[in-house]
């Protein structure tokens, strides 16, 4: 490859990456040119990896005391990401999933595993340590493959699961007596007229709390049939300012547009 082309591809991967990474990306993550998403935040498109062969059928193994894989999901890992949102079950609403500790959340999950190709253990040196977890109440699947240890992939997969829960699980909103929850106010720009000074500085996509705000924003949008202008009114912002907020984060933009598409509306650009 010529240098100029290489630089070109590097730059592309940089642009692509900064859309997901909050803190200025470290050179190491920035230099992962490969086909895999590196960010801790999920991409809505699922990179499928032909070398992964997920086990089907059930067998008891470590982590969560059970780990089976649902064969339908094995075949179409991506499908659930595109489903039109998942509604929260009656006894659990979506925001409370996010309040669970990692351990509590893990208890609601199944660990997917590799299909054993060969005897493993001492026989094998392949740095495949992919982890795939399925959140049983919602059917949401998150996976991580790019880290260098099983341990870290598990942590990344959990983080992704949290983001996906925020993006995918919709909670009912009472529009009659709507007052935006604090998590939502915190991600709004300071010029919002409903945002009190006690909300502190605006929280950006790289703060873990950002996803809580995103969840509340998507709940509102969903209740308003995807209308950004109606949502903007309730949030004390101009339609333009709210659109800019939505467009500022890739996963938020994709989720909002998916939601709008499901209501027959045009995507925000």
């Amino acid at each position: 490859m010529k240098v100029s082309m290489a630089i070109q591809s590097l730059r592309k991967s940089l642009l692509h990456r900064t859309a997901y990474l909050g803190n200025s990306p470290s050179i190491s993550s920035f230099l992962k040119f490969s086909e895999f998403a590196v960010s801790a935040r999920p991409r809505l498109t699922v990179t499928s990896n032909a070398t992964l062969k997920w086990r089907t059928g059930e067998r008891k193994c470590r982590w969560g005391d059970f780990c089976s894989s649902n064969s339908a999901h094995n075949k179409a890992l991506g499908s659930c990401f595109y489903s039109n949102g998942v509604s929260a079950s009656s006894n659990h609403n979506g925001s409370s999933y996010l309040e669970l500790t990692d351990e509590e959340l893990m208890k609601q999950c199944e660990m997917g595993t590799f299909k054993a190709s060969g005897p493993g253990g001492q026989h094998r040196n392949k740095r495949e340590s992919a982890v795939r977890i399925k959140h049983i109440p919602t059917g949401i699947i998150a996976q991580a493959v790019e880290d260098r240890s099983q341990h870290k992939n598990r942590a990344s997969a959990l983080l992704r699961l949290r983001t996906l829960l925020a993006l995918k699980v919709r909670n009912a909103v009472n529009l009659e007596a709507y007052s935006p929850p604090k998590e939502l106010l915190q991600i709004l720009p300071l010029k919002s007229t409903v945002r009190g000074s006690d909300c502190g500085p605006q929280i950006g996509p790289h703060n873990p709390k950002f996803m809580l705000g995103v969840q509340a924003l998507l709940d509102l949008l969903s209740a308003l049939e995807g209308s950004v202008s109606d949502a903007a009114k309730l949030l004390g912002l101009s339609t333009g300012a709210l659109s800019r907020l939505i467009l500022s984060d890739d996963s938020l933009r994709l989720a909002a547009n998916e939601l709008r598409a499901s209501k027959g509306m045009k995507p925000l650009k």
């Binding site: 493993g120 340590s129 341990h151």
Partner: protein, 389 residues
């Protein structure tokens, strides 16, 4: 069962594990070491043909510090680095699935991922903004600092592909749990499956304070992985003895123990199985081991990265692969204190079942709650249990 195998040769190098910067320079070359170890294990020479000796690394200097620990003392231009990267990438791509088809080795997807990790280690610590700016300004002449000379990167990647030298030996480390363990030729690269042993210990000590405060032993510690994992979850309690017959493993384990500042908690001892535990018989709260368990006849068919490069002493468990596991089962009861816990890694279902049956029927009354545990691929991998009270 099996004679105590102690190396009869004297160590030809000084023990300098505490000196990090020179440590990796002064180990014996892999070749010398491999020969010594083969001499120790006579039974293996007769049971199957010896694997080819590790290739001599003609073009590169003697073993160095792991890449990520080296100072970034080399410089190069962004364009030279990218040129190397695209060369390496196309070399990896040219492999396709040929390694996988021949011996279940890595395919090009996995090799490309390794290439990214190599890049990560070689750039580790250098100023990220420099690379950024170079790319943003389209300035390929920007100078960046590296942990290895670009020339060395070419030769390392050639070793990876042409000689099938394991990636972890190339970069000198393995990421394992939340640890980064230094490894080199002569020491087994810890496997992801083995991470589970630490989880199992975690479960046990969370239920039994007495075990948490006790003495733990990791037999055949290799890089020190399990011992360090356990020491970290024991927190302020307990103590660990880590042993290995292989002096290179003893030194690498000591190096890793010190890197994690655990030298007050983990004592690394050299010797064959029970020998280094003299004096603590009946006092051990927990005993863990991932001993060699591959049947001798399977060694020649192993994936090249494993069979050609990893130490046979760490892999070959005798005719059925059970020599060392049985030796451990036989001695465990007298080593453990009443109520003490053990966990052993095995080759899979067959060995697991055999051992459970063996412990229950051949060693009646010694153990209780003998169980098997699967790894993440669903293969029965571990045997666990407790010494009867």
């Amino acid at each position: 069962m099996k004679p105590s195998l102690r190396p009869s040769f004297t160590r030809p190098w000084p023990c300098i594990a505490s000196n990090f910067s020179t440590f990796f320079f002064q180990l014996p070359t892999p070749l010398t070491h491999a020969r010594n170890i083969t001499q120790i294990r006579h039974r293996h020479i007769h049971s199957s043909p010896s694997p080819p000796p590790p290739p001599q690394l003609a073009s590169s200097p003697p073993p160095l510090l792991p890449l990520f620990l080296r100072p970034p003392e080399y410089t190069t231009t962004v364009s030279d680095l990218l040129e190397w990267h695209s060369w390496a990438k196309s070399l990896a791509a040219s492999i396709g699935s040929s390694f996988e088809d021949s011996d279940n080795g890595p395919d090009s997807t996995l090799l490309c991922r390794e290439l990214n990790w190599l890049m990560e280690d070689v750039l580790d610590g250098s100023d990220p903004s420099l690379m950024h700016k170079a790319v943003a300004r389209d300035d390929p002449d920007t100078i960046i600092s590296l942990k290895a000379d670009v020339q060395e990167l070419y030769s390392l990647w050639k070793q990876r592909i042409d000689e099938r030298r394991p990636f972890q030996y190339i970069v000198g480390c393995q990421h394992w749990r939340d640890l980064i363990l230094c490894v080199r030729e002569g020491v087994l690269i810890p496997r992801p499956e083995t991470e589970i042993i630490v989880e199992l210990v975690g479960d046990v000590i969370s239920k039994d304070e007495g075990l948490r405060e006790g003495l733990w032993a990791d037999l055949g510690t290799g890089s020190g992985a399990i011992a360090i994992g356990i020491a970290k979850i024991l927190g302020n309690y307990g103590r660990v003895i880590a042993t290995d017959l292989n002096p290179v493993a003893v030194q690498v384990a000591s190096f890793n123990v010190e890197r994690y500042s655990l030298q007050d908690k983990i004592e690394v001892r050299e010797g064959s199985w029970w020998e280094p535990l003299k004096g603590v018989e009946g006092k051990v709260a927990g005993l863990v081991s991932n001993p060699p368990y591959i049947p001798s006849d399977d060694i020649s068919g192993l994936q090249a990265e494993v069979g050609r490069h990893e130490p046979r002493l760490a892999l070959d468990g005798g005719a059925e692969g059970m020599d060392d596991l049985l030796h451990l089962c036989n001695g465990a009861a007298s080593m453990l204190k009443p109520g003490g816990f053990f966990a052993f890694e095995t080759n899979g279902e067959k060995q697991c079942k055999f051992l459970v049956d063996y412990m229950q029927n051949q060693l009646p009354g010694s153990f209780c709650n003998v169980n098997t545990v699967s790894d993440f691929a669903g293969i029965l991998r571990f045997v666990t249990g407790f010494r009867n009270r």
